[in-house]
């Protein structure tokens, strides 16, 4: 996320005082591998102030992280993970429990930040990310549209806005074939509160909810740019900025860009609200994600200790104050901005949206959905046969991975 001028100025001010910010002087070499996005950049920059820190924000991190942490000694001391990508590290036992380190150096952490698996603290979360409905308040006012809280209202709003002056399409969505499209399906499906994979690892998609999800996706696609199958979050963000769409259910971390004066033509005209609820469900169409740090197991204890202390320095209040709008932070000192309101409404709705499940099965299901759903949307396959194909493709992969027989 690019900061606006005012924010950039505060960042510079904070930056000049930053050297004094790091309370410790780090002597041990600490290396971090994380995904490449703005929040991680903020955190790793703050960590680097302690000295001897090397941060690697790599777009191939999903490929590299499991092997790099499995090596002995591990190639990185600190890893940046989300609730999706922590799974392989957890399963292969390459990260260490953090209870003693938290006791020693993490007294200030909120209980909410401590990710516990089986009672052990395995990760420390720094931010949550979820979905929110970003909409053009000026257009909504002009056409007398109430902010929709469910998808029937959203479709009605889209119908009213179809062909409206000043926009090309009423709706935008992150439906790029593959990972994004699969997540769209997962979000809609889980609005029902049902899991996509049963406890015994069998798939749970080929049912009425699945059909309803697919049909809803198709209805929505009618209000979108016909090129929606290449539309990723950057594309949606651009469409919003250039006033091509009037609303979109988008990542909370991306919504801030509509107020970026160097890129956006709609500064101040966009508001956010809770992600609406699907007709077949009772929760907002969203999944809740967190991002945070883990510490490698295959390293000496003193390195782990230094790494943890550095990480705590990176995730402190000063960092949050300097980068307030880069994410929905869990850290003390965070002031939710105007464009984060929707995300907070989504996350605090009752019943709350489900967390994205961190399981092996979910990874397989996500891939299967990403590969198969687009055939339904392009019209080359019926909803029933698409769900059968998803199920087939999941079963093949699950047998290959050994989670099903």
């Amino acid at each position: 996320m690019r900061t606006t001028f005012a924010l950039a100025a505060t960042a510079i001010l904070a930056g000049s005082a930053a050297q004094a910010d790091c309370a410790i002087e780090n002597e041990v070499e600490v290396k971090i591998l994380a995904a490449a996005f703005e929040a991680w950049k903020a955190v790793t920059d703050a960590m680097a102030e302690c000295g001897n820190v090397q941060a690697e924000l790599d777009q191939q991190f999903r490929v590299k992280q499991p092997s790099a942490f499995a090596a002995n000694p591990a190639l990185y001391q600190v890893g940046g993970v989300s609730n999706g990508t922590i799974t392989p590290l957890l399963n292969e036992g390459t990260i260490r429990p953090l209870d003693d380190l938290v006791e020693k150096y993490g007294q200030h952490l909120k209980p909410n930040q401590l990710i516990r698996i089986d009672g052990n603290i395995m990760a420390v979360a720094m931010m949550v990310n979820t979905f929110e409905l970003a909409y053009r308040s000026d257009l909504f006012e002009e056409h007398g549209i109430e902010v929709p809280t469910d998808y029937d209202a959203l479709i009605a709003a889209a119908e009213k806005l179809q062909g409206a002056e000043g926009i090309d399409y009423p709706l935008g969505a992150m439906t790029k074939s593959g990972w994004d499209l699969a997540l769209d399906f997962v979000n809609l499906f889980q609005s029902s509160g049902k899991p996509l994979v049963n406890d015994d690892s069998t798939p749970n998609v080929n049912n009425e909810t699945g059909i309803a999800t697919l049909e809803l996706m198709k209805t929505l696609s009618g209000f979108m740019d016909p090129e929606y199958l290449v539309s990723d979050s950057t594309y949606v963000q651009q469409q919003m900025q250039q006033s091509k769409i009037a609303m979109a259910n988008m990542w909370a971390s991306r919504a801030g860009a509509v107020d970026d004066e160097t890129e956006s033509q709609v500064v101040g005209k966009v508001e956010t609200a809770m992600s609406p609820i699907a007709p077949f469900g009772d929760r907002p169409v969203a999944t809740i994600w967190w991002d945070g740090i883990v510490i490698a197991k295959n390293i000496p204890d003193d390195e782990a200790e230094a790494a943890f202390r550095v990480a705590m320095e990176g995730m402190d209040t000063e960092m949050v104050q300097a980068n307030n709008d880069a994410a929905v932070w869990l850290i003390d000192g965070y002031q939710p901005g105007r464009l984060a309101q929707g995300a907070i409404a989504t996350a605090t709705h009752d019943p709350a949206p489900l967390s994205y499940p961190s399981t092996v099965e979910m990874g397989l299901m996500h891939t299967a959905l990403g590969n198969e759903v687009s055939a339904y949307l392009t019209g080359s396959r019926s909803a029933e046969r698409t769900l059968e194909a998803v199920e087939q493709s999941y079963l093949t992969a699950a047998r290959e991975a050994g989670v099903l027989n």
């Binding site: 490449a36 690697e56 590299k64 190639l75 950057t234 651009q238 971390s253 160097t262 890129e263």
Partner: protein, 385 residues
């Protein structure tokens, strides 16, 4: 070559041929010209649907970054002379100042020095001078063409792209040198041996070339990461972790490029008459001496041409470098791809375009300099294979 009357062409054919060539040149250059234009605009202008808005950049001007008619005129004159100089005086200077053995090094230094002077003049000297002229020139000094170099500054200065540039140079340089050394030896051996083994080696190389790289590369990663553990029994504590090492990546790229290199060099060697080595051998040279003293000196066109292809492969590679290098040793292409991941903004994309234009510039220079050698090299050898 005097054209005989019968070879002379009717006007229709000449016009048709010229028209076709013009069309092709437009087609070849337009997408690249367009990204060049985009890289100088504010993000909003760069992705505008109207071509005129992209070219003139109204919002870029509105931000106070524009060129006046005077600026454009002076800039064009400067560019014209810069290009002419590059084509005429630069080669002459390089030839005059460097001994023939060090020609490649001479070119490298010459080009770098030229580029440095060019950048300093264009971005350091011209803007302030023109700023003063514009302020007194009245209507001619009003900006008409939106243009900003801020993306280039962001890429090179703020994001430290020069580090990626250096890494790219290390990797590419290594690939070209090792690839050619190993390849000329093999190419010569294969060209001079008529045995079936040589043939089957060539066929095997061809099949290797056909392999999908993604499979190979994914196989390297775990081995490279754990190489310290794997090699410890053999090398003891000196066993290196190959992951992130430029040298390891160079080796992989050389190996992947070997099939093409040896095929190409083999056909060059085949075009050199056997009598040449035989004469040397009669004079008492071993095969290797004959290769080094007699054959290599006449092989330069072939080596340069093949080297250029190795250069392109090493310089443009994405799959291998993105997976096997860590960020300290990252080369330019994966660094650019990093601007396009899931979490990008429009500004990031325009910066990526600026980076993309920057990495194309050395390729431009390379082709400008070696263009004649490529054609003459190909004429001399490869085309007969």
């Amino acid at each position: 070559m005097a054209t005989s009357r019968a070879l002379r062409q009717p006007a229709s054919l000449r016009i048709g041929s010229a028209a076709f060539l013009t069309f092709w040149c437009l087609l070849a250059a337009f997408p690249l010209f367009w990204i060049l234009v985009m890289s100088f605009k504010s993000p909003v202008d760069a992705f505008d649907a109207s071509a005129l808005a992209v070219i003139f950049g109204p919002r870029t001007i509105a931000e106070g970054k524009g060129l006046s008619v005077i600026d454009i005129a002076v800039g064009l004159v400067f560019l014209y002379f810069a290009v002419r100089l590059a084509f005429t005086r630069l080669p002459g200077l390089v030839w005059a100042l460097t001994p023939p053995e060090l020609a490649v090094l001479g070119w490298l230094i010459g080009c770098l020095a030229y580029a440095a002077v060019f950048v300093v003049l264009l971005f350091g000297v011209l803007p302030p001078v023109l700023g003063i002229i514009d302020s007194v020139a009245g209507p001619l000094g009003q900006p008409v063409l939106g243009m900003t170099t801020e993306h280039y500054r962001a890429v090179w200065v703020e994001n430290g792209f020069y580090r990626n540039f250096i890494n790219s140079m290390i990797v590419t340089g290594g690939v070209v040198t090792i690839s050619l050394t190993v390849g000329t030896l093999a190419g010569y051996g294969l060209a001079r041996s008529g045995s079936n083994l040589a043939f089957w080696l060539l066929i095997a190389a061809l099949i290797f070339r056909a392999l999908p790289h993604s499979v190979l590369v994914a196989g390297y990663l775990p081995v490279f990461i754990n190489s310290a553990e794997i090699l410890r029994p053999i090398l003891g504590d000196a066993a290196p972790t190959l992951y992130g090492q430029p040298l390891a990546v160079i080796m992989v790229l050389v190996a992947i490029n070997q099939p093409f290199t040896i095929w190409m060099l083999r056909s060059f060697f085949q075009s050199i008459p056997m009598e040449l080595d035989e004469a040397a051998r009669v004079d008492g040279c071993t095969h290797f001496q004959a290769f080094r003293r007699v054959i290599m000196p006449v092989m330069w066109p072939g080596v340069i041409t093949t080297g250029l292809f190795s250069f392109l492969l090493g310089y443009n590679d994405f799959l291998v470098t993105s997976l096997l290098l860590d960020s300290q040793n990252q080369t330019m292409v994966p660094a650019i791809a990093g601007y396009f991941n899931r979490e990008t903004t429009t500004t990031d994309q325009v910066e990526a375009i600026a980076a993309a234009v920057s990495i194309t510039a050395p390729l431009f220079l390379l082709v400008m300099v070696f263009q004649r050698q490529i054609v003459s090299g190909l004429t001399a050898g490869a085309v007969k294979g």
